[in-house]
Amino acid sequence: MAEIKGVLLPAYVLADESGSMGPYREELSEGLVSLCEGLRAEPMVAAKLRLAVLGFADDVQVRLAVADMRAETSLPEVVIRGTTRYRAVFDDLRQRIPTDVQWLRGQGYKVHRPVVFFLSDGQPTDGDGWRRSHALLVDRARTPTAPNIIACGIGSAEARTMLEVATRPEFAFVAVPGADIGRAISEFFHSLTASLVSSGQALNSANPQLVVNRPDQFTMAIDEVGL
């Protein structure tokens, strides 16, 4: 192992930009801004993270390429459009994550297992087509850089689907029935910031662990499904 510049946690925020998110565009944008500002307020933690923000609908579009939030000055802007194609997300991540990991390693860093925060307000509109791509993405034998996925469902996103997307049952959440969706989105980003700060703090320990905080206004999806 040659001398390294540091050990980084690549974190990806997948924000649903499909048409049904239209009424909540403001909360989505404000949530992303608060995430970026929250990380800038913790420079020692931010130094150990690289954050990407991706918007998804019919396809995936980069709102913030893998960035050091201490130096990043632009803020991600969401664009509401299209339908909710989950397969586009997992196809994209299967290409993007290994490339990003190799790039970071090429820059002289070691890399922790990446983490994906997935927020959707609807069931996939591409049927079952996403499942094979998702399975390939999270299979550590076939995708050595397979990420941990935290899935949060709001609106019509179902608990069972979030459980399928998340890589561990305790990583799947859905908004409590009747929750204000705009507020749930805000809480998602508060929790996301707290999770990244906590995980960033734990990264230097002898036993670093991904720390996931349940957002207010959300319950564990497994409790809703009753498995």
């Binding site: 192992m1 001398e3 130094a47 990991v101 190799q102 922790h112 002898a206 036993n207 662990q209």
Partner: protein, 305 residues
Amino acid sequence: MSPDGAEGTPSPLPWQRIAVGAPGVEFEARPPGEDVLDVPDTECDGWSTAGLTVRLASVRGAHHRYYGKPRQDAARAVPHTPTGAVVFAVADGVSSATRAERGAGEACRAALERILLQLAWSPDALDLRDVARHAAEQLRRLVRGRLDPAGPSTAEVAGRYATTLVTGLVRPHPDGPVVELCRIGDSGAWLLDSRRGAYWPVFPAKTGSDALLVSNEVTALPSVPAALEQATLRLTPDQVLVVGTDGFGDPLGDGDGQVGALFARQLAAPPSPLWLAHVLDFSRETFDDDRTLLAIWRRSPAPPR
């Protein structure tokens, strides 16, 4: 009278933090809490026996300084006068353990006591597995005394006191000092060739250089692996034994970069203990773990600096 005080009063410049590459954030450290009475921010020690010179330092990392947590590394060294050996231990408390700093300190103390006891019984034999088991048992006793007289589970002990440990001794020998050591967990040991500035790891790295991602798995006391990692080696005239926690080992890497060059220069001859602590407290972005380093040299005929 000079502006700085009486004529002839020394006016040295304060030591500046040593930056290696991009430095980390500078700030005033927060205290570790009122229940941490005996773990200072920084410790250092240094002395020589007839045949060996020892230096050690342990400094709280920027992360623990910033968030008001105690240093969770520990190191101890003692001489065994009848044999001229130096007995040492270095430990890194696992931060998920609630009293990691106590676990690290206790593991070092228990290891040293057990090795000294073994030397008293049989000066030529050393059973490092017994030493590791004894250290693990001492951690269990700490929990037993506090919580459950029936005996705690391994998980309970680990949750409170889990720690890595590298321990062993260096014996003087006419052909060169002989090192015997073992480790549990991801702390490391190296032979530093002080003439070439090269580091030879005594134990394999925790993550192979070709691994895409770093591993999050670490074995720690009170668990003692069935295949305990042990090594026996001899120090050549140019070699220094270096033992360190991953707060030192991670930025060191293979030792062929800036951190390796810094320590190769600074350890070419035994530095003062305070200076070693200062050097070990170097600033390098993202490397904010506690750092501990213990080094042992063959006694040089020249006086230490």
